[in-house]
Amino acid sequence: MTKSKWLAAGLACFAVFAFATPKGTVARSTALKYPAHAEQDGVAMGAVLLSSQAARNNFVSDLNHCCLVVEVALYPQKGQNLDISLNDFSLRTIGTDSAVKAASATLISGTLQKKASSSRDVVVSPSAGVGYESGVVYDPITGQPRRGGGVYTQTGVGVGIGAPGGQGGGTDADRKVMEAELDEKGLPEGAVEAPVAGYLYFPLAKKTKNAHYELEYMLNGNKVVLRLTE
């Protein structure tokens, strides 16, 4: 390979890394800044469960309809790599035996699209009108013209049925956007040396009232458990 080809390849690699959309969120200064935090084998970890309002504010995608969102930050030991995989995270409702694994952006966006496209809007439009009409009329008995007028009113209701997915988020284009958003804001996977943070999406259909959740993370074969609070 010639020198110029090596140079071009190097520039291309630089461009890919320099202009790639950054993934995840900005990690807080330390794990202690998160409501739930722990440390094991030199790796600190912090997490917070997003409330419904926070999920609404942070995402365009309507995540409250399909899943729970947890913001997680990992702080690897200095000079050591930490391999992050979504498979290592699971969420358990305290008091139950079942747990769910963190889902990928592709899966969640597909679920959201399906939910959005299965809903329809019924739009009700009431209407009302009032008017006054006047003119000259002829009395059929006397034949004399006389002026007259009358007020009339009109009311009505229009009912329209919207197309499926009318509330948005039901098209393939929307699914791609949601996937992009969830992927870009999600916890980055792979080997990292510096602190990273991002969101994890757990497909729990309904958030049970007064339920408490635990985030479990398998780190080097050991389980780290964080009791989550909003």
Partner: protein
């Protein structure tokens, strides 16, 4: 002359009332609003295709929404001769039905939202903070392309996609954010412009 004035007055009142009702309805449900597109598709995002049709699903959910509330008023006069008592019945003017139909005023002004969801675009509403920033001097860039000044782009309609939104003020203050636009959804952005640090060079335009 007096009748003409009454007619004009009624028409004006109808227009104001109609705008108010539509605004109220839109405030209730901002998702329902649509408007003529200000910006068309931006490069890099896939245009809507036939494959964008929603998937057919079983067990649909139904949501009942209040649509535009329409109110109208009118005045009409007929010259006759019409023989009493049939002349003044509200039902006599069949051929004038358009006059007392509250929909008659629509051709004068189509309110925002009348045409539905604007063929699959999503709305982006931008407000500048602090309010002292002059919108005329704030330039909006979408994916590094100049889109217009903030005074003209309070509402943008974009194809579904992810965009890099930048707002640059003449005094160097700037705001950057990655936005995600979904069809039929409204995204409100309160852009808080960060003033340039003293001694720092003005941020270059994209």
């Amino acid at each position: 002359m007096r009748k003409t004035a009454i007619s004009l007055g009624l028409a004006l009142a109808l227009g104001v009332l109609q705008s108010y009702c539509v605004a109220q309805t839109q405030a209730q449900n901002s998702e329902n609003t649509t408007q003529s597109p200000t910006i068309s598709a931006v490069a890099g995002n896939p245009p809507s295709t036939a494959s964008d049709k929603p998937a057919e699903n079983q067990g649909r959910k139904w949501r009942v929404k209040l649509g535009p509330v329409l109110m109208g008023a009118s005045y009409s006069r007929f010259g006759g001769p019409v023989y009493y008592p049939y002349g003044l019945s509200p039902f006599d003017g069949y051929y004038r039905a358009w006059l007392w139909d509250p929909y008659w005023a629509y051709p004068l002004s189509y309110p925002a939202g009348y045409f539905g969801r604007n063929d699959g675009r999503g709305e982006v509403k931008i407000t500048l903070e602090p309010r002292t920033v002059d919108p005329k001097l704030a330039e909006i860039y979408v994916d590094n392309a100049f889109a217009g000044t903030a005074d003209h782009l309070k509402n943008m309609w974009l194809e579904p996609g992810a965009y890099d939104l930048s707002i640059l003020s003449r005094d160097g203050a700037s705001y950057r954010r990655r936005i995600y636009v979904l069809s039929g959804r409204s995204l409100k952005i309160a852009a808080k412009l960060n003033p340039p640090n003293p001694g720092e060079m003005k941020e270059p335009k994209p």
